[in-house]
């Protein structure tokens, strides 16, 4: 039997993956409007031919039948009570409502979510609309919910919050620490380079994580701290480095400040103390400290496990302290690298999607910066930093916030303590969502505007290592959906007219490239990056101040943005909700390989077939105590609410801690989480909540009667040796 003739593509389009922050370059092969194959160029950074299951097979959400195809306007009070509307009607309604609120109570009574999944250009015009037309800095996005702890800590210590080193350096690492990041599932392609560094190039890996993640198979040393005790472990490592004089005297003298104060503050943080607090043997802490400090080059890679905590800022500072005292920053193969969770979470922040800064972290309260943007946008701007997303939710409850504009985000899956968040959103006068699908937040909206998916528009994303890369239109937009930047510009122009603005801030763009050109002009760090260059080079790492500048794969070679790196003395303590007699287990949340965030995209793709339902991971001892085996149904209850899903018994979880992914609305993890935040970063504590559990009956849901091991590719995560 001879195979049928091979399919020939109508077109092939190079673009950037819409999932995690690695920013994989991919070629979409298309036949009759169907993406039938996704391949990756082998000679192109950052992924060099590799993709993960989401990028390779998870793009069919773009043509899912339930894509939003026309604007929708609320048609009753029930959830999902909408009627189809024309663009003109929908835009008019939004313009009218928002303008009215601005007139009545000022722009500060509107809160807006920029979008970490949309392009830089989408986000730039979005925040421009918010700032220049609504006159408020109330723009934030889900970076607040993922890396605010890291951002704040890094800003305090060195004055910059991006990943300091490039993905390309990873495979040549010497020694590195991965902490609070299940990299193989959350940043699969980055994990390939880390694994390669270990297995092919002999790098030493130290994993510091409560969960037995896949990378522990590759680790020279695995420190399994009790959840939430990170600071104790890192402070004790610092203690060892100081006691054994393993620090880098020259680097400390030339590049840092406040070391002496810091050393004094370390006195009580002995490894033995840390062992008591964290459960990590003191000798392992010593071994890790020596391995890190004595390495020629050593780097940190971390994820949400560090930042999503009531002491996320302290966690990040405990890492920066170590890097500063050993001089492991500012050279290839060293550095401080928070792995960004979304395709464009870096870019959304870079593009001004934050309440306190314009593009590239130019502060709204800096008079010169403000003056520059006022001149460019022909208007006056607010010098007051706006609200963060967690504050916006609270503001909605107090009435301070009357309306929300939500571009491509789904706070009713992503906010902590969802019952509280839902209550807040219900209190609003007006909600408008721009999205590609109806989702949990959209159900509450007054107007929903259908927008183009990543495959249906042009623009740029900035990945986790600050590499600006092109997004290219490969498919026509479905139905009447339009790119976000066009919708935003239309709304901005209509509002300017409604508000009687004489000179427009400028929303007439023909192409995202025009927007990028404006961003370049107002942003010295982007000035050297043009679409033409991106076309030629594939991607450029900012900062890139001039057209002949090569871009910056690693930062801080000469100095830090804040001048000297600052040591921060830390206290050990936790504001987290700790397990107690009534709620004896610690709940931690996160991702699984096959899904992404609220599941808006992945659960409408083939990925759903591989991982079709939520599972709660628990240690065999805990399962035994509860009389559970893998596949049993379990109710998990916190002080905020309860969910039901099936148990996966696995040694991956430490005793007393259970893990629940947050992708699944049928057991939404954030029903359980606590809306307590880090006081500086305002990031919620997604990694710690006290819960109780009990075995329960199967709920009546379709397809759930099969045993768990027949469900997709769900497997006990420590089953295989790598």
């Amino acid at each position: 039997m001879v195979a049928t003739p091979r399919l020939v593509a109508d077109r092939q389009v190079r673009t950037t993956c819409p999932y995690c922050g690695v920013g994989c370059q991919m070629d979409l092969q298309i036949k009759d409007g169907t993406i039938y194959r996704v391949s990756a160029p082998f000679d192109v950074a950052p992924n060099y031919g590799n993709l993960c299951v989401k990028g390779r097979f998870g793009l069919d959400f773009t043509t899912h039948p339930r894509r939003l195809k026309t604007p929708l306007i609320r048609n009753g009070d029930g959830p999902g009570d909408f009627r189809e509307a024309s663009w003109d009607e929908a835009l008019s309604l939004v313009t009218e409502k928002l303008s009215q609120i601005v007139r009545e109570s000022g722009g500060d009574s509107i809160a807006t979510y920029a979008c970490a999944k949309a392009t830089n250009e989408d986000n730039y015009v979005f925040q421009k609309w918010v700032r220049a037309v609504m006159k408020t800095n109330n723009v934030d996005h889900c970076a607040r919910l993922c890396h605010a702890g890291s951002v704040t800590g890094l800003q305090l210590a060195i004055g910059s919050s991006a990943m300091s080193n490039s993905i390309a350096e990873m495979e040549n690492l010497d020694t590195f620490i991965v902490t609070g990041s299940n990299t193989t599932e959350t940043h699969p392609v980055i994990s390939l380079f880390l694994k390669k560094a270990v297995r092919q190039n002999g790098a030493k890996l130290i994993v510091i994580d409560p969960r037995q993640i896949e990378l522990t198979d590759f680790a020279t040393l695995w420190l399994r701290q009790k959840p939430g005790t990170d600071v104790a472990v890192y402070q004790a490592m610092a203690h060892v480095i100081v006691t054994e004089k393993l620090y880098n005297q020259d680097f400390i003298r030339e590049r840092t400040e406040d070391f002496e104060d810091y050393v004094e503050s370390l006195e009580s943080f002995t490894p033995e103390w840390a062992e008591e607090v964290s459960g990590v043997p003191a000798d392992d802490i010593r071994a890790a400290a020596r391995m890190y400090a004595n390495a020629e080059r050593a780097a940190f890679y971390w994820g949400m496990g560090i930042s999503q905590s009531t002491h996320g800022t302290d966690n990040a500072l405990s890492l920066t302290n170590l890097a500063l005292m050993t001089g492991h920053v500012g050279k290839p193969g060293t550095g401080l690298n928070p792995l960004r969770g979304q395709n464009n979470v870096q870019g959304c922040s870079d593009s001004g999607g934050l309440p306190n800064v314009y593009t590239a972290y130019q502060r709204v309260d800096n008079a010169a910066v403000k003056a520059k943007f006022e001149a460019k946008w022909h208007t006056t701007l607010s010098p007051d930093p706006g609200l963060t997303v967690t504050e916006m939710v609270d503001g909605a409850l107090t009435g301070q916030i009357r309306a929300m504009v939500i571009m491509g985000e789904n706070p009713l899956m992503s906010e902590p303590n969802l019952a509280h968040a839902k209550h807040a959103l219900e209190a609003l006068d007006f909600i408008v969502c721009l999205d590609i699908f109806m989702n949990e937040t959209g159900e509450l909206a007054d107007v929903i505007l259908p927008t183009a998916s990543f495959a249906e528009k042009d623009g740029t994303f900035t990945n986790s290592d600050r590499r600006v890369q092109r997004v290219r239109q490969a498919l026509p937009a479905v139905g009447e959906a339009r790119p976000d930047w066009q919708v935003v510009c239309d709304l901005a122009k209509r509002m300017e007219a409604a508000l009687g603005v004489e000179e427009s801030a400028g929303f007439d763009y023909n192409h995202p490239e025009d927007i990028w050109e404006e961003m370049r002009e107002v942003t010295p760090d982007f000035f050297g990056i043009t679409y033409e260059r991106l076309e030629r080079e594939g991607g450029v790492h900012w900062p890139c101040p001039s057209l002949d500048h090569p871009g910056t794969p690693y930062l801080f070679e000469e100095d830090f943005p804040r001048g000297k790196g600052k040591f921060w003395s830390l206290e050990y303590g936790t504001e987290s909700e700790l397990p107690d007699d009534e709620y004896p287990y610690n709940l931690t949340t996160g991702r699984v390989l096959f899904h992404w965030h609220g599941g808006t995209m992945t659960r409408r793709s083939k990925l759903e077939e591989a991982f079709p339902e939520p599972i709660v991971e628990m240690h065999p001892d805990d399962a035994h105590a509860l009389g559970l085996v893998s596949g049993d149904w379990v109710e998990i209850e916190s002080r905020r609410g309860s969910v039901v899903c099936r148990a996966m018994v696995t040694g991956r979880s430490p005793v007393g801690t259970v893990f629940l992914p947050f992708h699944f609305v049928e057991a939404a993890a954030n029903v359980l989480t606590l809306d307590k935040v880090d006081p500086r970063a305002k990031i919620p504590d997604y990694k710690n909540a006290a819960v109780k559990m009990r075995k329960t009956e199967a709920p009546q849901r379709d397809g759930r009667d099969e045993s768990l091991d027949k469900r997709g590719a769900i497997k006990e995560p420590t089953k295989y040796v790598h």
């Binding site: 198979d217 089953k719 295989y720 040796v721």
Partner: protein, 569 residues
């Protein structure tokens, strides 16, 4: 009489071990349970930290490992040329029809599994069989007189080593039924001399001076190999003894191991001393259970009196020898494939360069020598290079073992001074050809045919090369005029198809295409000869390792000598 042992008990001994313990643990599981199932693979995977798929790949590569249940007793009958001439097919078929199964199958009562096997190295006692008893292990039986012996088992399957020749050195004065014990072998005189009165450099110089060249088939100068290894940077260094004697028609190394285990151990230790190694691996093919047991017993004896182990003879030279058991793969006689097997992988030959002397076992500098080669060393060190060179010719020094089987009156292992002719060997030592001589296969399956006109060739490396032939592994298989040479070619073809590792395309594809044509030689298609030539030359010139490069050697020589075999009629 099955010993009951659990998987956990087996694995307990392997906690903390790594991938190189894979073949040993698979052997233990195979022996205990008759096969290695998915649960065992899962447990082994976690114990040794080897991925399950890799373990499965290893199991399915080696023919002595099974991933599906087998009978309590597995009977494997050799069907390669020497056994084929002795009626092995009848034995196999008789066995199958008595049990009502085909070969490769297991009886419904789970008592017996019958398989055919590649050469078992008992060609002088053909036909031969290898039996595995669940919970006990393997035993060779030869000659197989009838199927009862195979079905009922036998407590004493002891065969005699048949030994002769003009130069009894390595095989001097041995008991033809039992291993020489340490008390008879005596002290490791050569090793003592090397340690006390010599230096590693001097040992290497002596071996170089002796002109010893490798007896495994590739004929590389032994001293030079040792020097390269000693000089190589990178630690540790290893000695590996290649006892994976699998070339059809070859059994001399088996006889050496069964008869003179201490001679081999002393040779290995001398090599270790010379190249700066503290560990030696003795890789014995899985089909040699007797040799393995005798070698292990000898190691135990030597350890007990301090001839092996730490601080040998009170010196600072420590040396340990570990036996590794092959599991049914001719390719593992290829040195780099053998390394892969020790490392717990499929027996794929590696690309050379780099060579073993710099990148051998575990990627470290390694000397790998054949059993006979290493057995020659103690004599060289004790008696001097000049003594060794007195045997043979200038370019083929020292006594040489050959394995003679097939149609001679006295098949066996012969130790000769290179330089006697093939005719002298056959007539004077093997007591003549049975019937009228038709052909001699020199060098085993990978060798070439000689016609009756050519048997006056002198048995030296250089004369044989000149005659377009080879010593190879020292196998000499004799065919009389009653023999159907096409049948011999088919058996050789089947052997190579079975033993090709499948790595490089020419051999993987060529061994299959070659046997398909050989099997239809009674009614060949037009152009079959040119097909065989294209296949043969492509395998010879393009294959990755020696197996593929010689897999058509016999066929191409037959085409040259008997072209009529490949034509219709």
């Amino acid at each position: 009489m099955q010993t009951m042992i659990t998987l956990d008990e087996i694995l307990n001994d392997y906690i903390g071990r790594k991938r190189d313990a894979l073949l040993p643990v698979l052997w233990d599981v195979q022996t205990a349970f008759g096969h290695i199932d998915a649960e065992a693979v899962h447990q082994i995977s976690h114990t040794l930290r080897v991925p399950e798929a890799d373990i499965y790949g290893v199991i399915s590569f080696y023919t002595l490992f099974h991933d599906e249940p087998t009978g309590e007793t597995i009977i494997r009958v050799c069907t390669d040329p020497s056994c084929g001439l002795a009626g092995a097919d009848d034995m196999l078929n008789g066995l199958c029809s008595r049990l009502g199964i085909h070969h490769g199958e297991t009886t419904v009562d789970g008592q017996f599994t019958i398989e055919h096997s590649a050469c078992l190295g008992l060609c002088e006692h053909a036909p031969a069989a290898l039996i595995s008893w669940r919970g006990i292990g393997e035993q060779s039986i030869a000659p197989v007189s009838d199927t009862d012996v195979l079905l009922n088992g036998t407590d004493n399957a002891q065969y005699e080593s048949i030994i002769g020749g003009d130069a009894p050195v390595l095989l001097a004065g041995v008991d033809t039924y039992a291993a020489q014990r340490l008390k008879n072998y005596g002290d490791y005189v050569a090793l003592r001399k090397a340690i006390n009165d010599s230096s590693p450099e001097n040992v290497i110089a002596e071996v170089e001076e002796s002109g010893l060249i490798g007896r495994g088939g590739a004929a590389f100068p032994t001293g030079m190999k040792w020097r390269f290894t000693r000089q190589a940077t990178g630690q540790p260094h290893y000695v590996v003894c290649n006892a994976d004697e699998s070339e059809p028609g070859t059994f001399k190394d088996r006889v050496l191991m069964e008869a003179r285990p201490h001679l081999l151990l002393e040779g290995i230790a001398l090599c270790g001393y010379a190249i700066g190694a503290e560990t030696g691996y003795l890789f014995i093919r899985g089909e040699y259970p007797e040799a393995m047991q005798r070698m292990q017993a000898a190691i135990d004896e030597a350890l007990e009196v301090g001839l092996l182990g730490d601080n040998i003879m009170g010196s600072d030279f420590s040396f340990h020898i570990e036996i590794r058991r092959g599991a049914g793969a001719y390719i593992c006689g290829e040195e780099t494939a053998l390394f892969e097997a020790i490392e717990g992988k499929r027996g794929f030959p590696r690309i050379k360069p780099p060579y073993p002397t710099t990148h051998g076992l575990f990627g470290k500098p390694t000397t790998i020598n054949n059993v006979e080669t290493l057995c020659a060393v103690p004599g060289i060190i004790t008696n001097g290079a000049a003594w060794f060179k007195a045997f043979g010719t200038e370019k083929s020094t020292g006594p040489k073992l050959v394995s003679v089987s097939g149609h001679v009156n006295r098949p066996g292992v012969y130790e000769i001074s290179p330089g006697i002719t093939l005719r002298e060997l056959l007539n004077d030592y093997c007591e003549g050809v049975t019937g009228e001589l038709q052909a001699v296969l020199m060098g085993g399956a990978a060798g070439t045919f000689l016609t009756p006109d050519e048997i006056d060739v002198r048995l030296t490396f250089e004369d044989l090369r000149k005659a377009g032939s080879t010593f190879g592994s020292g196998a000499i298989v004799v065919f009389n005029t009653e023999t159907d040479l096409r049948d011999v070619l088919v058996r050789l073809g089947r052997f190579f198809r079975h033993e090709s590792c499948g790595k490089c395309f020419p051999c993987q594809l060529g061994t299959q295409r070659q046997v398909e044509i050989l099997e239809r030689l009674d009614a060949p298609l037009p152009d079959d000869r040119s097909r065989l030539e294209d296949i043969g030359w492509t395998m010879t010139e393009s294959s990755l390792c020696g197996l593929g490069q010689t897999a058509a050697s016999a066929v191409l020589s037959a085409i040259e000598k008997w072209p009529e075999l490949f034509e219709k009629g």
